[in-house]
Symmetry: D2
Subunit: 364 residues, 4 copies
Amino acid sequence: MLIFLHTNATAAERAELRHALAAEGARGPLGALPIGAGDVIGVDAAAISELAKNRIAHLPAVNHIIPIKTAYKLAHIAANPAGTRVKVGNVVFGSRGMPPVIAGPCSVENEEQIIEAAKAAKTSGAVMLRGGAFKPRTSPYTFQGLGPQGLRMLARAREITGLPVVTEVMEPGMVDAVAAFADMLQIGARNMQNYSLLIAAGHSGKPILLKRGPSSTLDEWLSAAEYILAAGNPNVVLCERGLRGFDNHTRNIFDVTAIPALHSLTHLPIVADPSHGTGKRSFVAPMALASAAAGADGLILEMHPRPDEAMSDADQTISPETLRDIVQKIHAMHIALGRPTEDEISDAATLPIAQEPLSYVFPE
Amino acid sequence: MLIFLHTNATAAERAELRHALAAEGARGPLGALPIGAGDVIGVDAAAISELAKNRIAHLPAVNHIIPIKTAYKLAHIAANPAGTRVKVGNVVFGSRGMPPVIAGPCSVENEEQIIEAAKAAKTSGAVMLRGGAFKPRTSPYTFQGLGPQGLRMLARAREITGLPVVTEVMEPGMVDAVAAFADMLQIGARNMQNYSLLIAAGHSGKPILLKRGPSSTLDEWLSAAEYILAAGNPNVVLCERGLRGFDNHTRNIFDVTAIPALHSLTHLPIVADPSHGTGKRSFVAPMALASAAAGADGLILEMHPRPDEAMSDADQTISPETLRDIVQKIHAMHIALGRPTEDEISDAATLPIAQEPLSYVFPE
Amino acid sequence: MLIFLHTNATAAERAELRHALAAEGARGPLGALPIGAGDVIGVDAAAISELAKNRIAHLPAVNHIIPIKTAYKLAHIAANPAGTRVKVGNVVFGSRGMPPVIAGPCSVENEEQIIEAAKAAKTSGAVMLRGGAFKPRTSPYTFQGLGPQGLRMLARAREITGLPVVTEVMEPGMVDAVAAFADMLQIGARNMQNYSLLIAAGHSGKPILLKRGPSSTLDEWLSAAEYILAAGNPNVVLCERGLRGFDNHTRNIFDVTAIPALHSLTHLPIVADPSHGTGKRSFVAPMALASAAAGADGLILEMHPRPDEAMSDADQTISPETLRDIVQKIHAMHIALGRPTEDEISDAATLPIAQEPLSYVFPE
Amino acid sequence: MLIFLHTNATAAERAELRHALAAEGARGPLGALPIGAGDVIGVDAAAISELAKNRIAHLPAVNHIIPIKTAYKLAHIAANPAGTRVKVGNVVFGSRGMPPVIAGPCSVENEEQIIEAAKAAKTSGAVMLRGGAFKPRTSPYTFQGLGPQGLRMLARAREITGLPVVTEVMEPGMVDAVAAFADMLQIGARNMQNYSLLIAAGHSGKPILLKRGPSSTLDEWLSAAEYILAAGNPNVVLCERGLRGFDNHTRNIFDVTAIPALHSLTHLPIVADPSHGTGKRSFVAPMALASAAAGADGLILEMHPRPDEAMSDADQTISPETLRDIVQKIHAMHIALGRPTEDEISDAATLPIAQEPLSYVFPE
């Protein structure tokens, strides 16, 4: 169930509520997440009696309660039916306005390359920069990224272009180091159910781009997001990037329907990654348009100044010219479909992380 | 390999060519398909020597030869790089103009229902009517369609509205009976590799809507189309309708990327079926837009005057109002993307079936 | 629901029952199948009131009723909890004794080949011969089988070796022709939901080997079997042959767990096909043993006197020596597991087809 | 390529080799793994010229070189064609003798439960204890394990029964803590491509049980194993536990064919987990037998003294009685198949971790 708190609930009233929940056997994190109209607590109510629920509903801190049967609670659309906006620098995901486009190379290769790529991304209409410093690679013998050096180069590219930066983090112990440089942390498909990493990402308070695992159900994906939310971080953006498939004409099966399906299940914004979704350069543009038409709240595209020279994922990397064409077409389509333009969208702010630290620790 | 014939090749020259191919051990149908610039013959050249190929290339009937390594030949894009247009009544698939929308109920239920549905489809902007008379149903205990009665009702709805009709045929022995009433024959997903049915559909000469099997690769699908083409029928339209998936929020995984992927592999038009692709009414509109944005040459949508009362597939059936909204948005999007409007498209004609009957028989 | 008839129910009492069912709106075939302890009728009871069910339960023809909620009824284990034995010549599937092994080449290539193969199969311990005369091939340009000639060659091989023959039939119009030569009809994976073919196979009365479609659920598969059963033919054997997969080290994902899963759902015997299931010669022996250990009621193996020369499926075809080794090991394993040997199994007879013709026709 | 070192290669000669490789641009870890007949180095030779390879082949440290094109090198069967034996306490995986059975509850619930389970496992024929202290759970609101307390309880159960213990570790920072209590570390399916965790597991030197990701190819799985091997730890056992499926009668698709397929690709032992593979208690026994028949080098089974009371995975948990029956049948089957009994297997020893530390660090 979801417990919505009164906006003026005092610290003592909140503590009273948490104690009451713990006494009833509620399991999991019991801190309040500042999302939607006020602070919300997610609780697995399976073990709590109707009587106890009634008692809890009448505690002073509680505004109202909504029963939720899914495994995820805070990620459920009922927690914030108006939709959550996640702000990264001056970029807003979930505004329902013109969808922001993130672009950049698969890997940061050297300072010249990432700066050139960032400039090309900006000129072509992208509003945010992507680039891998730590690369999860199937084989230990392939290029694993430039690591900390790459982070510094990304920061330099941001300094020059003003574009906020998203980059991947691969282990809990590196979250702080990456968060020191990046504006948004990406959790990759291979790590979607790396729960230690999700919790660390939650504690960081940084906006998180959570990619879908290659054979993950929507419920599993939203439950993974719940780990981040439940750790106190409301700034989660989901990213569809394709499912394990059986046809060698594409790298993955790009599940575009996940976009409207998620919009019916969750308040979190959904970004589409047609680069990994298709794995082929010539399919990126049509599938970027398809994603936008289906209602994506943003796009993330692999772009390189000279795609054929990219050190990784060259097959699916587009040129700045293709990027510009995609951005222009998405804008034209957006207007033709009568969707709101950016001017009509009111200001959004990065959501604060939970006031009470929502730790998730094992009993000693 | 593909053998392109001179347009003025005589019957004797054509016969000479066929004999030469047979003598070299070429297997399969060796008739010429009137597709693209002239007649074309598809041949599996694996067993033919380079010397023999050279000899064949110099026969009087032969204009030029293009080597093709895929299992399908006539369906390969090289057979007609300009793209094939399939005409059904006055509806054209593959024109690259405004994509035609087919709409109608899952099943023909009675005469009033199908006539009402046809009128609603027309008013809402659809240009063709769908409706099942013979229904392939998972269980023998569920409604199997009205059969021949349903065909007559479809013909009556066409008479009243002028909309051409597509309906499913399920066995070779019924092809003539269904072709007598319908303007286009649908071969369903379950029958995609029902080769006897494909060959019979080929011999019918009617335009064919060939749905993709639920776990079929693109190559398998194009090879299934090849059976129809090789039987002499160039009027094939492919229909993506979703893959077997693992998530219960959608009925199938709707493979939108198949649209641009097929456009890179084949000259045949591709229609999208977001009704079966998603299985949920509220996902049909966004995925219809996504399909059109990805370049679909048409859409087929389950629509019922009162969706909740539909005898089959009610969950995925939209209302006439939703249909109208989809058609309008697709048109607006088409223009915004700078794609050609119908006026710019030159006339298309239904392609003739092959002059020489392309039979596919077993030696007695 | 399943309606079990009294063994001595008269024709008039049976007719009374059928009329009562039809009057209550029961849909589908309403003939009685001679399976299990007596004749059984399968009915979709969703539309029938509790009152009407009670009335039907007290009709003179009715012994007792068991409610069944699955889409399939006659295939449900409740229809014959002791398990159905399907007899083909003197071979019995479902006896729970030593599992019979079917072996032979993918395709009948010529008379010498099939006779040599049949002799090798017999010598190596197989008790039944397989071989394709009509071959469903992905591409129209590949060898499509010898057709009717192949059937005659199979009959000749049976005459010489005494081994009963199973071969594939691909269309309803060919069922009688193939049934005239074969002892058991195979319906291939591509045709699992070719309902016209299933019904024709049902009317033939011949034992049917029904392969699983490459992405079929167990419920869909049993519902396909239900079409055959509901058409009056109780002699159905299921055959697991692998699911569409994503790994190129095997041709399919061989779903061995389907064997115990089906044993919990249905009374029909289950045969395993590790040749198609794995697609690789060296995996056939271990997976044949695995299938037998999991409880398979038989095996079907592609074997060729000279595997590397096989015209089709050479990669997955084993030698007579490997076949002999497999049969010996399966026998040794069977005894070691304390399973009953053939001597302990009482006589089985081919089940009669339904006395009342169970037609499945559309209303005119 | 694989570089096999002379057994008496000196430290200086080894250093010379590593420098030569680095100078040629060889990427990745270049330490020698003590596996097979002697120490082996895995190198991605794509960037190394034939001339350079020849030069390297003649360095004093080098015995011989085998070219390997797969993404994994040290995991390739060519690195140790005789097969690697992994020893955990006195249990040996990969001996080709009687396959060891690991059993125990999904979760450690309390000290009494785990001790009772360990005793029941031992009495029933299991030789190793499993039990989760840190549980990766889809939802943050479900029981997450007892954590460090659970580890101490496992150690107590080992002390009493003598059974070695395997338990899961979920993050790099916890590897040392878990390794202090456990005899073997499990890396779960969700973490198969958690590369930081794989490298930490490699550095630990402990035997590792590496589960397959739910949609992982065999090549991806072996490449994940390669991360552990390349970090210096040769003691890796693979564990098949089922693939993401689409049928609700089983939890996963249990890929038994992976067992013989892996035996053809790698020298590492393969253990089967029919509990997670099937997800249903009644399918565990037949699929345990199937796995053993297919050649599994061991089994891991969820067993609880009172299965219905298990706090997690109760549906797939067997009783001690079922465990005993499985062990007895596997032994009987093993002998019937003529496979070697334990007596015939020579002594195995835990392989040492690499002498030179094989670190995998990013350049600063």
